[in-house]
């Protein structure tokens, strides 16, 4: 199986392949005194979760692939995410060179990302439902 096919397999069949730029935990803000901080905390927790899950340009790109953007918009998302990921310059090459090389690694990364994201939000006083 080629790496590309493995990536396709991941995108097509595994719900754990969430988009790290779009997924967020469900937060119940009813009665919360911290409701106004949800958006800010989501942004900060997302960044922390991406770091904690070892997110690289590779995984950011995988997120874009699963993000449901068709045609030119999909390519634009890939370039932006690769540029905003951990890699810079030559590091981009090293990071994305392995895209699709490990479906399991990608799934684990996504699970770590979701777990850390949710825990971070809880730590900041939000009622995370899932």
């Amino acid at each position: 199986m080629t790496k590309g096919l493995m990536l396709g397999f991941c995108v097509a069949t595994l719900s754990a392949c969430v988009s790290q730029t779009q997924w967020r935990p469900t937060v119940d803000t009813y009665g919360s005194s911290r409701a106004q901080y949800v958006t800010r905390d989501e942004t900060e927790c997302r960044n922390l979760a991406m770091q904690a899950s070892g997110s690289t340009a590779e995984q950011a790109a995988r997120g874009a692939v699963g993000g449901g953007l068709i045609g030119a918009a999909g390519g634009a998302a890939l370039g932006a995410l690769a540029g905003g990921g951990a890699g810079r310059g030559a590091a981009i090459g090293a990071a994305v060179g392995g895209i699709g090389a490990g479906t399991v690694r990608g799934v684990q990364s996504n699970q770590d990302f979701q777990r850390v994201f949710a825990q971070c939000m809880r730590n900041r006083g939000h009622a995370v439902l899932g």
């Binding site: 097509a12 449901g68 390519g75 090459g93």
Partner: protein, 154 residues
């Protein structure tokens, strides 16, 4: 005599049908390529309505596209190019093609130029072919420092 003529007629008929089918496929391929080109042309013009106009409103990705396109236009200044387009086939409902799309950011930006290789599904809406979804087979990212040689993601 008739036994020899009939196979000739039959062969001619089949060849005619094959030719007609080929012509129909050529027409469909051109139509699908046009949809893909319209998507990219509209994207380059930062025409959100134009981009969404190329996507079937019943597509599972439509809402994501509708939300993301204005954000992309606000945050990025990129240029997309259709590098390659190959029609693959169709059934009663969907048509399939393989497309390579290059997207480049302005010099000096953090955007990583890339060429994505995609299997694209088309679906008819109101008698017009539109984009339904796509799957990325692989991406070539262009290194911004050092060599310009693309780095394959496959």
């Amino acid at each position: 005599m008739t036994t020899t003529i009939r196979p000739v007629y039959l062969a001619a008929l089949l060849l005619g049908l094959a030719s007609a089918a080929g012509a129909a496929d050529d027409k469909l391929a051109a139509s699908l390529r046009g949809v893909m080109a319209d998507n990219i042309r509209a994207y380059d013009a930062k025409d959100a309505a134009g981009v969404l106009g190329t996507v079937d409103t019943r597509s599972p990705d439509y809402d994501t596209m509708r939300a993301a396109i204005p954000e992309q236009f606000r945050d990025q200044d990129v240029k997309a190019t259709l590098v390659d387009f190959k029609y693959i086939g169709h059934d009663d409902e969907f048509a399939v093609a393989r497309a390579k799309i290059k997207v480049e950011g302005p010099p000096g930006s953090v955007f990583v130029n890339n060429t994505s290789d995609r299997i694209v599904l088309f679906h008819q809406e109101g008698g017009v072919w539109k984009l339904w979804s796509d799957d990325v087979l692989g991406v070539d990212f262009e290194q911004r420092i050092g060599t310009k040689q693309p780095v394959s993601s496959r």
